[in-house]
Subunit: 138 residues, 6 copies
């Protein structure tokens, strides 16, 4: 497995999609997103490429929902799945980056309580608390 | 188990919360929501009461997110959990009732694909298709 | 795959465990349990054998919890998992067979609401309602 | 978000339900439960209130099942969900507080193995081991 | 939403990836896969396109695992998730199409029992039984 | 609960099955597997016995799939469930022990992305990265 595998993709017809995804990822997730992709370079560089191309180049780049609406959907999906604290941390930051308030984020997580139960909601709120503290928002 | 158990609650201090929840449920879920509560009268009337009081009287009645935002969160949670087709049917109708477009609903479900995978998203889209057809929206 | 594969096991030292499990399954699940095992004969007879030996011969035969306590744990696990309506149907009958009341069964399912959310609890209650109706208990 | 939001609820008609829930939570979960509620004061005080009111004031206060039976159901639900180690720690302590023996707790977790598989059961047993060690029970 | 949305993609640089995916999908899933894509044309044509491009054009087209190995991984993932019977039906047919025997398929599903428990395994086996019967393999 | 409970089983007719399982566990999981069993001696020795007897003595000892095929199925099931990092660590080592390459392991985990979504796949890849680093394979 070769770190350069990722780079070599930049000359094929996928380029535009990759670059659109990369711009979206940097705008939405910021440095935390870049670190996730970087952490994959050694063992699964193509997985990082798929995250960029599919999750950001395809899905996040679609029209029909605002980025704030998309982050509400993402927070709900990650809260409901459980066991996704690293991804929730990235997307809590993303939610703040695209302009959701701490109040809206807390409300979105709490709104999941009747659907997925308190344990997953409590875990997501504790993750949110840590993110808010790191950004001096509480 | 007694159908009247539910009624007898209407004289205690919970009344306001129950009535606020019932108004919200009727506004958001419409007749489909009422049918769910009705179907519980025989074996678990208090469960219907808790759905009204907690899910609608407490959570849906909160400020901080619009009803449209709350439905996006609900659709994402139900899509992600899987196996919740009856509840998804109710809340797809609810999403339309509070003003989300079919496009926004489809986008919200599709947005879950990178987080929860295609199978749960495909199942949710088929459920959406049936709801749209029943309402002559496709 | 051969239906007789199952029978041929009856001469090895596992016999006692298999027979203990089969007695437990018949006592707890009744005919519904036997039908599950029968339905596996054609494609996966050993799976039926493992259900008998491990789930019933090993686990259900243990001391330390009464059969009623074990059914409460089973109902909670199946309610929480979701998508297990066939198994829930068998084990709702089993719960009645070992002496839990309809009230205790409904309470056990409802007790899961704060932990796993309303959708899975509503699905389990509807399954319970069908089982109670079949046995003329509502 | 204001820590006092929680207090201000104590004058509305919900008082009785909140206080009943708070007494139950202290009796069942002890200090560990109080710490969970306390940890929510800064970012989501109402979530703590809902846990008290709905999980403890409504559900745990119901008749129809003993507290020991309710803890068996809770342990099964949390074991089956997976990823709920913090909540499992609180409720393992609660199980001991309401009089379940370490043997009954271990049996209840092990009973989930045929339903939810060994990985979630192994994780729950390791959490139980830590709780038992903290209380000098092994 | 426009059925032609899908076609219009065939002129952009994605063409090769889409066509590679479409060939793979037809080879692996056969008509069942085509029907899934077709069923999405009315409400979510792009979702069908993403299944073709990402699941088949990107992932299934990779080297490093044989198609038989990939189907074992797919069957395990769908069995473990639960609630994915429609997708499992497609991929049980796919497993047969790429040369796995009914015995290997049954073994792969049964192998999940210690990891995900009997209920999801029993549901997957019943789905396999129906597929085998439709193809006159039992 | 008595550590000797486990030993005493070695004289009953289960012996052969237990010993076959123990040999399989040592061959497949190596010392990591033995440590899991050892860690259960104090609170749930029979759980360790069931892992040996059922997971390894019954399931892993079956014919019909090679050990490499079985490990692909196991990795997929554990990746898809989520929250099973300790078990995934043991079975990533097992996958290497039975001859799967790091490339095949990474491909198997990545193959789950369209089925279970990126978050669970990213968590499994990070666990694989740690295992590969410990064995100096990256």
């Amino acid at each position: 497995m070769n770190v350069k595998e990722n780079k070599s993709k930049s000359v094929d017809p996928q380029t535009e999609r990759y670059e659109r995804g990369w711009e979206q990822l940097k705008k939405i997730d910021g440095e935390a997103g870049e670190r996730v992709i970087q952490s994959l370079q050694e063992v699964a560089p193509d997985l990082g490429r798929y995250v960029i191309e599919f999750a950001f180049g395809d899905i996040y780049s679609r029209e029909g929902l605002s980025l704030q609406q998309r982050q509400l959907v993402t927070l709900s999906s990650l809260t409901t799945q459980g066991g996704c604290e690293p991804q929730l941390t990235v997307h809590l930051n993303a939610a703040l980056n695209v302009g959701l308030s701490t109040r809206e984020i807390v409300e979105a997580i709490m709104h999941c309580a009747p659907y997925t139960g308190f344990p997953r909601v409590l875990n997501a709120i504790q993750t949110a608390k840590r993110v808010f503290e790191e950004r001096n928002l509480v």
